[in-house]
């Protein structure tokens, strides 16, 4: 407990590695005879935050909250509709591929399905070597050495390098994905539901591995997940997304112990917990997630919010700092 | 593809042997004699029948559907001719010796300088619709062909009218009257030629169409007029009328009850369009009664069809030949573009320029081998480009019997020797000498002859490059239309010849478009035209002598090696009687055809 707080203190002094400003991604909906755009899915609808060097920022949200879209935009795997992305103070929002390349080296992503994201025709060595080949000028021998070193780092045997992805279990494949992501010493790693497909015992192994690697290489993580427990475990700060917007972002402790946004509160009370002594919250959210193509006016959460009032329908609450480092987008905390 | 073809051949072979064995398998070893007796009895029965019987119908097969233009002045293909041969008649026809004999004209007179021919028509001849046939129909027919707009409408038979007097003026539309053909009275018609004509009967032998049907039809509309296209509307004087059809499938001919030579025995003749691969089987089952022009029975199937007990076959020499031509000269690009055929501009092809080389090649090719191997012996080797049936044909020319020794000796003599020991001869300058052989797809036998020829020539040290065979249209374009120096030395082609006259000028005079060899031998032109020159040429013996000289010249100078003449193989069911084929057609006096089993 104490150790974690220490870490937080260090972070506040540190500069941002990524800053995003009012970032938006609208996916057009085609319809009608001429396939004209008849509307938009507002997957990400004006999100602002920064990721600080060396921290793990967790992003939680349910399906359709836009968290994965957000991750992909930062990597520029998706073109933002609007807004700004600064990576180490460079505006990379609209960089073309060629100019993007030096930044790509510094950012890596790990996906949920380790099988689908690895080319099954390539051996582990080829898979891990590939980014080295593209991004570095290492000799063949150096590359092979590096591959062995990486494999051992992520808890696999150097001799595994000649095998193919299908010869590994899910957890091992995720380790390969991690090794591949780390090959070129990135500064930022985006983990998009990286442990969601794994069994708990394996999930724990991978989470521990990620923590170790972060310490060793001074990595910054953007950890995207729907699982609040996992996010809590690994993150320093946590952002909660709902329908493409950031509902709340704060240091982990604040989020989990003193959630301010009604959605965060509801989310936390929905999570079943293994602490059989703890008193149950019996208040569970009603209703479904509204469609992102037609979000409610004003506050997107108001349709399910137990505290909703008139103003919530009229005015979209902006993210505001309520406590030190604790931001929330809710009219309950205005003034 | 080769594999598939092989398979296909194998299947046919399998089918053959099976069908051949079937009756044998049922046979008891001891009954053969008995069967023979039976056959004899049957034959006796046949002979017992006294002459032809009226009635019955037969089915003929052709492998491709006619395009559908059933009008003698506009049709263009052999399949349409299969119908028209029954329905339309000309003033004269030809007999077995290719002499002209009376048909719609029972007699004629030719004037002294052979500029006029007067024909006396049969009286009482009726068109299928009952109208009388008169001299006006003859005049109408020839005027139609000569009229302006005829070629624009798609007609190609102008050769019958161009020698006639006043053609130019009439064709240009300058006059309404055509001097060339005039009706003296209802049953007398006179043809007048602009120049003395060596073979006037040929020109008057065009099938006649009815004036009363087409009189009001503009020439441009004639090809698509119902009287050209539709059964029941196509009117001729022939023994059968075209009465019904399922287009592209079957064409029904019904007898002309009032036929002027007498009522035909058969009630109906139906042409069916049947795929080549199925024809022989249907002959055996009796669904088809006869197969005739243009393709008859394939040589490869001869033995099999001959084995059918119910089928009789007729084999006769075709009016045509296959050749391997030498591209002796090329046209210039400019000439090709302008369409000019100007021998003065031609460029010689040095690779085959030496007569000795050409003769050596003729010796090197095993032509009897081709006839045996590819035609199953159903054909003959010929040495001169005139149909063997003609009086003008002669065997008295260099024969080039297959001899590698002769070939090699001639090549050595010409200086084509192997100087670098690669097994192939170099040209006299010691440069590499490769002959490019081009050939078209389509005719399978011809396709298969190409590699055989290559093998024959390489056996005497001539390196031959077989070019990729091209589809006919593209091929003709290469060798004839765009015959610049495009790397073709040898080409394969076949010609079918008309039966009317042996004159070879259309194919071999220097400026003829079809002189694909671009053979430039003034002596040849001299002889060709001498044979057509009046008045000497009025004498057939004179023409014969001249043509023989020309054939000898041809066989010596060799613008082409004549490879073989394929035999025509007709087949018909034995129940069909009265078949007396002409050298050029099986359809002869079909009103005399009859069947045994008529009711």
């Amino acid at each position: 407990m104490a150790a974690i707080e220490e870490k937080q203190v260090i972070q506040t002094d540190q500069e941002s590695i990524v800053k995003i400003e009012d970032l938006k991604k609208y996916f057009p909906i085609k319809g009608g005879i001429l396939k004209r755009t008849v509307g938009h899915v507002k997957a990400v609808d004006g999100v602002t935050f920064d990721i600080r060097k060396g921290e793990t920022l967790g992003i939680v949200g349910e399906s359709g909250s836009g968290k994965s879209t957000l991750g992909r935009m930062i990597l520029r795997l998706l073109e933002p509709t609007d807004g700004e992305i600064l990576f180490q103070d460079h505006d990379i929002t609209h960089l073309r591929n060629k100019h993007m390349r030096p930044f790509r080296k510094d950012m890596q992503i790990i996906f949920q399905d380790p099988f689908a994201s690895l080319n099954t025709k390539m051996s582990v060595e080829q898979l891990i070597e590939e980014p080295l080949l593209v991004q570095t000028k290492l000799s063949k021998k150096e590359r092979k050495e590096k591959v062995k070193e990486l494999l051992e780092k992520v808890g696999l045997r150097a001799s595994d390098r000649l095998k193919y992805p299908h010869e590994f279990s899910g957890g091992q494949r995720q380790r390969i994905s991690i090794a591949r992501a780390l090959a070129i010493n990135p500064k930022l790693v985006i983990a998009d539901e990286a442990v969601s497909a794994l069994d708990v015992s394996i999930q724990a192994q991978v989470l521990n591995l990620m923590s170790d690697l972060q310490d060793e290489f001074g990595l910054t993580y953007l950890f995207i997940s729907h699982d609040l427990s996992v996010v809590k475990h690994i993150s320093d700060r946590v952002g909660v997304m709902y329908l493409g917007r950031l509902a709340e972002i704060a240091p982990k402790k604040n989020i989990y112990e003193d959630p301010l946004h009604p959605y965060t509160q509801a989310l936390l009370s929905s999570i079943p917990d293994t602490d059989v002594d703890r008193e149950r919250d019996s208040v569970h959210l009603d209703g479904d997630l509204p469609s992102p193509s037609n979000p409610p006016s004003g506050c997107a959460f108001r349709t399910r919010c137990p505290m909703a009032h008139e103003r919530c329908a009229e005015e979209r609450p902006e993210l505001q700092e309520v406590k030190d480092g604790h931001y929330v987008a809710c009219h309950l905390y205005d003034e | 593809m080769l594999l598939v073809l092989t398979l296909f051949a194998f299947l046919l072979a399998a089918c053959n042997s099976e069908s051949g064995e079937d009756p044998g398998a049922e046979e008891d070893p001891g009954t053969e004699e008995q069967e023979e007796n039976n056959e004899q009895e049957e034959e006796e029965e046949e002979t017992e029948q006294e002459g032809p019987v009226e009635g019955g119908s037969i089915v003929g097969a052709m492998d491709t559907a006619p395009a559908g233009v059933f009008n003698p002045i506009f049709y263009s293909e052999a399949y349409e001719a299969n119908i028209l041969d029954f329905t339309h008649e000309a003033l004269v026809s030809q007999n077995n010796s290719l002499e002209f004999i009376p048909s719609l004209a029972h007699d004629w007179e030719i004037n002294e300088d052979q500029t006029e021919i007067t024909l006396f028509l049969e009286e009482g001849v009726k068109w299928h619709d009952g109208e009388d046939f008169t001299a006006d129909d003859v005049v109408f027919t020839y005027k139609s062909i000569a009229s302006p707009g005829y070629t624009e409408a798609g007609g190609i038979r102008t050769e019958y009218v161009t020698p006639l007097k006043g053609y130019e003026a009439f064709n240009a539309g300058e006059t309404e009257e055509f001097e060339g053909v005039t009706a003296v009275d209802d049953y007398t018609v006179k043809f007048t030629f602009a120049e003395p004509n060596v073979n006037p009967l040929y020109y008057v032998g065009f099938p006649i169409i009815p004036e009363h049907v087409f009189a009001d039809v503009a020439i441009a509309d004639m090809p698509t007029h119902e009287a050209t296209l539709n059964p029941g509307k196509v009117i001729g004087t022939g023994p059968f009328a075209f009465t019904d059809m399922v287009e592209r499938e079957q064409y029904v001919l019904t007898r002309n009850e009032d036929y002027w030579k007498g009522k035909p025995y058969l009630e109906q003749i139906t042409w069916k369009v049947v795929d080549q691969s199925v024809i022989t089987s249907l002959l055996e089952t009796g669904e088809i009664d006869f197969v005739a022009d243009p393709n008859g029975v394939p040589a490869a199937d001869y033995e099999m069809v001959a084995g059918y007990e119910n089928v009789e076959m007729i084999e006769q020499t075709d009016f045509g030949y296959q050749l391997m031509g030498f591209k002796l000269n090329y046209r210039t690009k400019e000439d090709v573009e302008s369409g000019a055929i100007n021998p003065d501009n031609w460029e010689e092809n040095p690779d085959v320029a030496d007569q000795k080389v050409r003769q050596a090649i003729a010796y090197a090719i095993d032509r009897p081998g081709l006839v045996e191997g590819l035609l199953y012996g159903r054909g003959s080797v010929i040495n001169a480009p005139i149909a063997q049936q003609f009086w003008a044909y002669t065997e008295d020319v260099p024969q080039y019997e297959h001899s590698t020794e002769e070939a090699e000796a001639l090549l050595d003599e010409a200086g084509y020797v192997d100087t670098n020991d690669d097994g192939f001869r170099e040209n006299p300058d010691g440069e590499e000498w490769v002959l490019e052989l081009a050939y078209p797809t389509g005719n399978k036998i011809r396709e298969r002859s190409a590699p055989v020829i290559q093998e024959n020539l390489e056996a005497v040290g001539i390196k031959v490059n077989l070019q990729q065979p091209k589809e006919m249209s593209a091929y003709i374009n290469d060798i004839m239309t765009k015959d610049t120096n495009n790397g073709v030395d040898l080409y394969l082609l076949g010609w079918s010849l008309g039966s009317g006259d042996p004159d070879p000028s259309g194919l071999w005079n220097i400026e003829a478009a079809y002189n694909i060899s671009r053979w430039n031998n003034p002596e040849s032109d001299e002889l060709i035209f001498k044979a057509l020159e009046a008045p000497d040429a009025f004498d057939q013996e004179f023409r014969k002598k001249t043509y023989q000289e020309w054939q000898e010249l041809f066989a010596t100078d060799l613008p082409a090696v004549l490879l073989y003449a394929q035999n025509k193989i007709y087949a018909f069911n034995k129940r069909l009687n009265g078949i007396e084929p002409l050298p050029y057609s099986m359809i002869n006096d079909p009103h005399l055809w009859w069947v045994d089993d008529a009711q």
Partner: protein, 341 residues
């Protein structure tokens, strides 16, 4: 609330006969009991055999799998003695099942109503009209506010949570005595998961069903189960009332599992882990199936698979760590005791 057992499974063995003559003993000697009104959780990681167990109860095992031995008594009747035809009268009627993927578990070409009505007509022999009325009632019961309209909608028009509600409506339509829910909320968002689990609990109470809840999520178990069966390698390695299990897990596997779980309410610096991975079902180690991953592995563990032995009333564990005096003592007086909650 009645306490009589609804389902009793004894010595169930379901094996898969693989191509290369190998046998995957996916379910091996499983005993379990579900009583009316009780929620029994079957917990395990992927490959532990929990889903095969549930499908075996339904007799929905496809080739090359086969139930090779055991007894499955539903309301005292051994289902394994029934003919295929008799079994169709049991499924959906006496015992119903809900599956993991609400997105694909409903037939896309039929309306939601059609798929409920079908069951009612089959098992309850209702007329079309009756069945439709009942289907609307059921949809209302599982929380469709516009049930009259929803009944004519197609599955693709519903959200995941709504589809799972529809699945529940189908499952409870014939008042089954036993409801098997195989990972019913794994594919759903947390807020929706809570709704669905609440609904299932409510239905269980109302209908006095036995609920066999199959899940990998220990949080769900902690909140909704009465008793817990932990499966590993095709076998039950520990059974316990919920409270006891989370307070004091006995089997090293259960212990490892709980330690490796991150929690919202606890602060852990580092997660506990279980080394290695679950071996595939045709390559279980001889001896204890957990031996390849167990931190306490002993010599005897490698030789012979331990039996499931009772260590306390209502608690049993399959581990040599408990076969000492204590184990023997408790093992001796094992009997079927009724459980009250």
């Amino acid at each position: 609330m009645s306490n009589e057992p609804v389902l009793q499974v004894k010595d169930l063995k379901t094996y898969f006969y693989l191509d290369d003559n190998q046998v995957a003993r996916a379910v091996d000697d499983v005993d379990l009991t579900v009583r009316a009104g009780e929620t029994v959780a079957l917990v395990g990681e992927s490959g532990s055999g929990k889903s095969i167990t549930s499908l075996s109860i339904m007799q929905l095992i496809n080739k090359p799998g086969k139930i090779v031995d055991g007894e499955i008594s539903l309301l005292g009747r051994n289902l394994l003695d029934l003919s295929d035809k008799q079994m169709t009268k049991v499924r959906g009627n006496d015992v119903a099942m809900i599956f993991q993927e609400p997105m694909t578990a409903l037939n896309p070409v039929y309306t939601v109503g059609n798929q409920i009505i079908e069951v009612l007509r089959k098992h309850k022999k209702m007329s079309k009209k009756q069945a439709r009325l009942r289907a609307v009632e059921l949809l209302k019961l599982v929380g469709f506010p516009r049930a009259e309209e929803t009944i004519d909608e197609y599955p693709h028009q519903l959200s995941g949570g709504m589809r799972q509600r529809a699945m529940i409506a189908i499952a409870i339509s014939c008042d089954p005595k036993l409801l098997i829910a195989d990972e019913p909320t794994t594919a759903l968002d947390v807020t929706i998961q809570a709704q669905i689990l609440d609904l299932m609990s409510k239905m269980k109470e109302q209908l006095n069903m036995g609920l066999l809840l199959i899940t990998h999520d220990l949080g769900v178990v902690a909140e909704y189960a009465d008793r817990v069966l932990v499966m590993y390698g095709g076998q039950i390695v520990e059974t316990s009332p919920k409270y006891d299990l989370f307070k004091g897990p006995k089997h090293p596997y259960t212990q490892g599992l709980l330690e490796s779980l991150p929690s919202v309410h606890k602060e852990l610096n580092r997660l506990g882990t279980i080394r290695g991975t679950v071996p595939p079902a045709h390559k279980f180690p001889t001896g204890c199936r957990f031996s390849s991953r167990c931190p306490h592995v002993m010599e005897q563990c490698l030789e012979k698979n331990p039996d499931l032995i009772d260590i306390e009333p209502e608690r049993s564990v399959r581990c040599y760590l408990y076969t000492g005096d204590e184990g023997a003592k408790h093992g001796g007086d094992r009997r079927e005791t009724s459980h009250s909650n």
